[in-house]
Amino acid sequence: MLPSGAVWTAALVFTPLLAALACFLAPRAANWIGLLAAGLTTLAAATMVPTLMTDGPLRIAVGGWGAPLGIDLYADGLSAVLLLMTAVVGLGVSAFAPAYFGAHPQQRPWFWPLWLILWAALNGLYLSADLFNLYVMLELLGLSAAALTALSGGGPALNAAMRYLLVSLLGSAAYLLGVALLYHAHATVDIALLGARIEPGMLANAALAVMFAGLMLKTALFPFHFWLPPAHAGAPAPVSALLSALVIKGSFYLLLRLWLDLFGDLSRLLPELIGVLGAIAVLWGALQALQQQRLKLMIAYSTVAQVGYLFLAFPLAGGLNGTTAWRAVVYLALAHGLAKAAMFLSAGALLRFAHHDRIADLDRAVHRLPLTLTAFVLAGVSIMGLPPSGGFVGKWLLLEAAFQQDRWGLAVVVLLGGVLAAAYVFKVVGYAFTPTAIAQEGGSVPLSMQWSALLLALGAILLGFAAPLLLPLLEVGAPFEPIVGMPS
Amino acid sequence: MQYFYFALILFLLLTLVAGLWRIRRGPTPADRMLAAQLFGTTAAAILLVLAEVSDAPALRDVALVLALLAAITVTAFTRRARISLPPGDDDAR
């Protein structure tokens, strides 16, 4: 008999994949195919929620073989919330894209298949329980992301895409090395089986080291962030939104999953080290963002800072109420996804309007482009972590965990990061109110571009109110509880 | 018998390495071409002997594919050699 969730699970991966093929075969209809696929994929993600809430976590044996021989798919609350966030951001970006690429018609036929494959890879990543299958997903994700980065052409974008591709390939190679070691030690690549079989020792440490190094490189944790700002700033606006909001979350999710299910008990030192890197990233990224003259680069450096927050949970997780820290950073990841996508889309709208993204020359953009500026400010509220946004809920939970364990240093970093974020967001808002000496001509910006940014920003705010709904969903399958039977 | 085959493989392998040395040293493009050709042939021979040693007849398929493919690489090499040989390559006669 079919497991009840089998159909939507298949739909989450195959709808975007087959739509990508359709876009490749019929480039002229790409807009319509893409929008339809975005709608259907979002529908599949939404259908999953009630199924998971009633039936609990889902495990599907592809081909009916079952691990360790076959590949298993697995979905719990953690996969579900990330799939949902991907769907919402994906829908928003897909709604933004037709108008945006109306002005860049030569890029449009390539954007759609690449983006739909990227979506399929992300969904596949969140649904897979098989380390080698995850490697294939990582490669699918990395190659499509690099190709999308290069889409706008021109020296800086190509340079950034090239560096991104090399970094991404090195990251997945390191990950694969870890998979090879684990397979030969334990004769399986299924995460759950490995979790039961893995033992502390030299081999597990080696696998942990290479896999974490590779994935931290891909997630752009300080000091591996060097490739991120040029790539995220140089890409076309909808692509920047995808890269910052979604792609980074893919490798972070995998990192988190490996830590929770495989490596969590191996090292006491590593979480502290990761926490320190995260704290540096929060402060360094925000300070860099504050100094940028270009809007898109500022938003990209803000991503470096926001990635840092995600790693602050590692040192907290082992202590009192440690699982709160995991909930906190997952919430932050969701909020950052929506808010950062909204910010990059607003930047795209501003760029279309003013033909430049110099922050100092925004010239009364507030009066001339009110919807877009509202979107930017609302997204900024969530990035700063002010109530009632999703970012606020995440930071609140993180502070709660930090206070309970008397980790005042981490609490200060969280708060300071918020203050710095406020500084760079208000810098933009300030210039947007200020007239420049020479009045600037503005072009027209299609409403679909402005509204998709605004709706995503509203989503980031509403995420604050959705906590009573989302936090129980996150608990499905108890992803943060220690696995029973694991040696400690 | 097994060891005879291994001795043969070792001998062919050493020939191969000597050929590689010739590819690297030159001195003329013709030397390189010939060495490259010979390289593919020797590798195919090693595969055929290995097919005997490990009792894996499928290795002969590999030798077949290698023999066919050698044409490609040599073609690509010649093509490149005609477009432009890198200057300062140590073939200054």
Partner: protein
């Protein structure tokens, strides 16, 4: 005659040492053309190593893919870079000087290029190199130690594969893993190939390769070889059901045939270069996904072919995949959109 027993070890030692030497030369030889040539030789030796490891399926793919297609791709790229493109040859050129104006302070060893380090103090560079060397040696040591520790008899999943082999629809274990037990990976892997092609086309780097007129010898050679290669590809698909071979090996040979035809100046007829070509390119993923999803309607799990049909399902998938892989590899070589 005790020394005779050392012969297999000697063979493996020579193979390993040759691989390391070739890789080292390919990565350090000042002449890029030579580097690429050595890299192609590296691929052939790697093929021998796979044969030595009884990994015949991999050898069958490595030689046409690793040595053939990758080699041809590298050579084609090299011929489009200017002839004077020689790495680290003479003193830094003018463009090089421009590149180095804007080094980022505070960058870590991960980003530091040798060239980039040129404007840093010599002591700092030496220190950086020493630290990196030390780290690499430590990594090599631990990786070697871990490999050593792992080296004790273990059958992995061999028994499981053999137990379920009769249900898989094929008799050859590697094909069964690729097309059935782990078919999901394989489907996505063909998608990776297609994705790379879409990416290459989106960059629109029109290749000027093959636009020159072919030499008569070359034309004759390819007329002779191409049909032979297509025949070998067909044989490899067929043989894959019960012996080493299958869609990837066949597709690689097919792709290599396409590269050869292209090198000899052959072009796709104008009528076939548009959507018919795209259809062939997309066929592999489309057929695989269609069959994999259609079985859900029969009450089977995703990609779970009923045992009675598995043989036919796999054959259809393999044929479509072979065509697509061959077409994609050949198109990757051509580079620019047709």
């Amino acid at each position: 005659m005790a020394w005779l027993t050392g012969l297999p070890l000697a063979v493996d030692l020579v193979l390993g040492a040759t691989l390391l030497w070739l890789a080292w030369r390919a990565l350090s030889s000042p002449d890029l053309f030579q580097a690429v040539a050595l890299f192609i030789a590296f691929g052939v030796i790697l093929g021998l190593v796979w044969a030595r490891l009884d990994a015949i399926d991999i050898a069958l793919a490595e030689i046409p893919l690793g040595a053939g297609v990758t080699g041809a791709l590298l050579l084609a790229a090299l011929s489009q870079l200017q002839p004077a493109e020689v790495d680290a040859r003479a003193a830094p050129s003018a463009t090089e000087a421009n590149e180095h104006q804007a080094g980022q302070p505070g960058q870590t060893a991960e980003t530091a290029d040798a060239d980039e380090a040129q404007h840093k103090p010599a002591v700092f560079r030496a220190l950086l190199a020493a630290v990196m060397g030390l780290l690499l040696f430590a990594a090599l040591f631990s990786l070697g130690l871990v490999t050593w520790q792992l080296w004790e008899p273990s059958s992995g999943l061999t028994q499981q594969v053999n137990t379920h082999l009769p249900e898989s629809g094929v008799e050859h274990p590697v094909t069964a893993v690729l097309l059935n037990f782990r078919g999901y990976d394989t489907l996505l892997e063909i998608a990776v190939l297609l994705l790379a092609l879409i990416g290459v086309w989106s960059l629109a780097t029109a290749s000027n390769l093959g636009d020159t007129t072919p030499e008569p010898v070359l034309a004759a050679l390819s007329r002779l070889l191409a049909p032979l290669m297509i025949l070998v590809a067909a044989y490899l698909v067929w043989v894959g059901a019960h012996a080493p071979g299958g869609a990837f090996q066949a597709g690689s040979v097919l792709g290599a045939a396409g590269v050869l035809l292209r090198l000899s100046g052959w072009r796709l007829p104008a009528g076939a270069a548009g959507w018919p070509l795209r259809l062939v390119l997309a066929l592999g993923v489309a057929v695989f996904a269609f069959i994999g999803l259609a079985v859900i309607g029969l009450g089977e799990p995703l990609l779970g072919y009923p045992t009675a049909w598995a043989k036919h399902a796999i054959l259809v998938i393999e044929l479509a995949a072979t065509l697509s892989i061959g077409a994609i590899l050949a198109s990757l070589f051509i580079g620019g959109r047709p």
